[in-house]
Symmetry: C2
Subunit: 297 residues, 2 copies
């Protein structure tokens, strides 16, 4: 059995964009052409691949196919690059990275490699506990995740620990904690929360002060640099990564609510065991940079 | 007819979280309790409100209900605040803001107001052409959008123009445009693109160089500050907002590919005509700040 490339591409783009209509626009064909190709692919593999919801998504068989298609495309591109030195040899790697890594150590770590090796990144940003799902779904070929267990066929390499501290501006401390940080005060002081997947602040309040998730007011602000800016502006206190605020020595007027209780989040780089030489090189670069720039795991 | 608050809340949280299971977790009840409440609500209104897809979403009637529920909650909270001075008077406003505004002028503009008026923000970040859909969907009470036409019952106030320039690092210019910017070179130089909704770079290449969307290599990086960092690191050229790079006078070694051809994006603040006093105050603050910090529309 041989896979039809056009059919596979129609399927991949439909999952990527979330609908047959958008896949059709991207590939400059009609939606019914996309639909036919996917149905033909399902017929030739004898399994349903696409759940026709909004957005559409892949069945478990569809996910396995997608993982395969992404990896095969990368292997082929890498081979072609060997034969066509120069301009055409760019390679695109889909990766899923947690927001705080993207906002701090990730880009400086990989930029020289990307430029020298002519690699393009297709980055998806998600919560560190959710990037792994994108690897499973076949939408990423590598991911940075808190998950230590590798998926079947993959390896998980330790990158290091991102240490978070509960920080607030001097002016916020004055306003909300004039007599020091207490459970009672924490029930009323606004908290910065990244989004509804972000459990860092909730777990911290639960663990150290026994405060339930419903007990405190919050802003939601799903962007890393603005999140730091909001803490600086005194909108709320929030868990900030040390690598982002520049360590304790240089926290520019930010105060640590509980200096003795930082929160450590271990990060792992997940990638496939059998992979293209350039993706292997990217993995090595990332793991070395993580070990240099993060705390040891 | 009177709306049942618990039923409305079950419906709102299900749409917010995307599934009955997650709504159940958030509200500390069983999924079947959530399902029953929503069905009871549909029965009492005589219309289907929820499309039971993954993620679940609201029907047009469901969207109208959500818009109403969000606004009513805000009006009530504002009234309660009049009677309970002090600690309890916090108000949460769901807003949808484009990523580049969040990363530049938005927070400094609203922070003093939020602190003084005890307003919490629930920010959703999306592309400037898509924030409007969140207002329509009843998931935001206000939004910053490129859309100039207000939705029924809403007003659209001009904030100003964000001016984008096609920027690259000195080292990128040297590597890809040693003899100047040309159509031929632009076919090979990597481009920074925010995500698949971002048309800024594609439109620029189409308009000034007649290059189609498929013709050039790209990184996808859906985070504003890292996007700017990637341009600085020489990963690609990209459209950067002047307010973010600090204007032409201070662009720190970044070069403008076509200084005579900036791209102007007009932004509008959309909010409901009938709204709570504090949301009205937020609107005024935003419009004044936009007019101060952006170019005139």
């Amino acid at each position: 059995m041989q896979l039809d490339q056009k059919q596979c591409e129609a399927f991949r783009v439909a999952i990527e964009r979330g609908s047959l209509e958008q896949a059709a626009t991207a590939l400059h064909v009609t939606p019914s052409a996309i639909s036919q190709r996917i149905r033909a692919l399902e017929a030739s593999l004898g399994r349903p691949l696409l759940v026709r919801s909004r957005p559409c998504r892949a069945t478990p068989d569809g996910q396995a196919l997608l993982q395969y298609v992404q990896r095969a495309a990368l292997l082929e591109a890498d081979l072609v690059a060997r034969f066509t030195e120069g301009e055409e040899a760019l390679l695109t790697v889909p990766v899923a990275v947690n927001a705080d890594s993207v906002a701090s150590w990730f880009l400086p770590a990989v930029a020289p490699f990307l430029i020298a090796q002519r690699v393009l990144l297709d980055v998806t940003v998600d919560d560190q506990d959710h990037t792994y799902q994108l690897l499973q779904a076949g939408l990423a070929l590598g991911c940075i995740s808190t998950e230590a267990q590798p998926m079947r066929g993959c390896v998980a390499e330790p990158l290091g620990v991102m240490r978070y501290r509960a920080m607030a501006s001097a002016d916020f401390m004055q306003r909300w904690f004039p007599d020091g940080v207490s459970r009672e005060r924490l029930r009323h002081a606004p908290v910065m929360v990244f989004n509804r997947k972000d459990r860092l602040q909730a777990d911290f309040l639960q663990q150290h002060f026994g405060l339930s998730d419903q007990a405190w007011p919050r802003h939601y602000l799903p962007a890393s640099e603005p999140f730091l800016q909001a803490v600086r502006l005194g909108l709320g206190w929030g868990m900030l990564p040390e690598v982002q605020v520049g360590g304790l020595a240089d926290c520019n007027g930010l105060h640590d609510l509980l200096p003795a209780h930082p929160v450590d989040v271990g990060l792992y780089w997940h990638s496939w065991k059998v992979q293209s030489p350039r993706l292997e090189h990217l993995s090595r670069t990332l793991v070395q940079a993580g070990q240099r720039m993060l705390r040891p795991l």
